[in-house]
């Protein structure tokens, strides 16, 4: 009888322990949405940062008033300027050379219907920004075009000119991850709290 009681107790303890192991991951999964996680958020942002600092994105988010060109992000030849609306000046408007689609061939003008720099009133500079600086800028409606976090995600997910970066025409390298992966990382960054990297992160 004693043996039976002892075995029952052992079985009960084993069951409780086993169940506790089983339920833990499920609980974690359910609480993942909206759960703040500074480490995970910053990790996701760093993936986003690598894309935004790639030439296909950064070349049209320059620190100066001239667009950049090429994988080495040199200043656009012909001394092209931003202009009052981001579309160039006088006879040097972006759409004078850049069409609604890429011209076929290496070194020919890439194109998109929205081809432009950000306007001087909302410069949205990427070039030279540290991860911390860029994250702060992206989250600040006064510096990000008046966007909420949801609108930032929508911009990255659906904007046609953003999408050009993955169809840049011949001879231009792609951003370091797919657009779908970028959307996933942006969503994670925001969902985990939209944390800003520390100044030490480079």
């Amino acid at each position: 009888m004693k043996k039976l009681i002892f075995l029952s107790i052992i079985l009960a303890i084993t069951s409780v322990v086993a169940l506790s192991f089983k339920t833990e991951p499920a609980r974690k999964k359910n609480n993942m949405i909206g759960m703040k996680d500074s480490v995970g958020s910053v990790k996701a942002f760093m993936a986003v940062y690598k894309v935004l600092m790639s030439p296909r994105c950064m070349n049209c988010h320059p620190a100066g008033d001239q667009p950049l060109q090429g994988d080495d992000s040199h200043i656009h030849t012909m001394n092209v300027k931003r202009g009052v609306d981001g579309h160039g000046v006088y006879s040097m408007r972006c759409s004078n050379c850049h069409q609604a689609e890429n011209d076929p061939g290496v070194h020919l003008p890439p194109g998109n219907p929205k081809w432009a720099l950000p306007p001087p009133t909302m410069r949205m500079v990427f070039q030279g920004r540290t991860p911390r600086q860029l994250a702060i800028q992206l989250l600040d409606p006064k510096q990000n075009g008046g966007r909420t976090k949801a609108q930032i995600l929508d911009h990255i997910t659906n904007d046609g000119l953003v999408g050009w970066a993955w169809h840049p025409g011949e001879g231009r390298t792609l951003p370091p991850m797919t657009r779908a992966a970028l959307v996933t990382q942006t969503r994670l960054w925001i969902a985990k709290g939209a944390y800003v990297p520390s100044a030490k992160v480079k």
């Binding site: 030849t77 012909m78 001394n79 092209v80 300027k81 000046v89 006088y90 006879s91 040097m92 408007r93 759409s95 004078n96 050379c97 069409q99 609604a100 011209d103 061939g105 070194h107 020919l108 003008p109």
Partner: protein
């Protein structure tokens, strides 16, 4: 069939919509004042006006011009008397002349938008037009002169 208006005249062009607009202007319409330079929107020799903007016709598809207003060097003025043309002539700007129609078409947009351009404005507007003869100093001087001529013309 693609309908375009060039220098005020309507044309129905039976050609591939992907044909460079420059080809249609030169080879189909016979307006050879606009030149082929690089074919890559790098030099400005093929500059024309599309709805008033100075586009590079070598990299612009014919389809973009459908239903639009085109002006070429032949249509810049009725009697070669645009202030820029008068100033160009007065100051003997061209050397070989190959790039000059493109130069004039770009300068025309500058003067339309800024009747009193500074040297910097001229540099900003004209830096997409290359001149292998190096007539840049005369181009700049002639644009200033054309601005003066336009003001004198407005007064008289």
């Amino acid at each position: 069939m693609i309908t375009v208006t060039v220098n005020g005249q309507r044309h129905d062009i039976d050609a591939d919509p992907n044909m460079p607009l420059l080809w249609a202007i030169r080879d189909i319409l016979g307006l050879t004042g606009t030149k082929y330079g690089c074919g890559a929107a790098q030099c400005g020799a093929c500059t024309i006006h599309l709805n008033g903007e100075s586009i590079r016709s070598c990299c612009t598809k014919l389809s973009r011009a459908a239903g639009q207003q085109i002006v070429t060097i032949e249509g810049l003025s009725a009697n070669n008397n645009h202030p820029l043309q008068l100033a160009w002539n007065e100051m003997n700007v061209p050397q070989c002349g190959y790039c000059q129609s493109g130069q004039l078409m770009s300068a025309a947009v500058l003067l339309r938008e800024n009747p009193n351009p500074t040297d910097q404005d001229i540099d900003d507007a004209m830096s997409g037009n290359i001149c292998r003869c190096g007539t840049y100093q005369r181009i700049r001087a002639a644009i200033h002169r054309a601005a003066d001529l336009a003001k004198e013309g407005a007064k008289s």
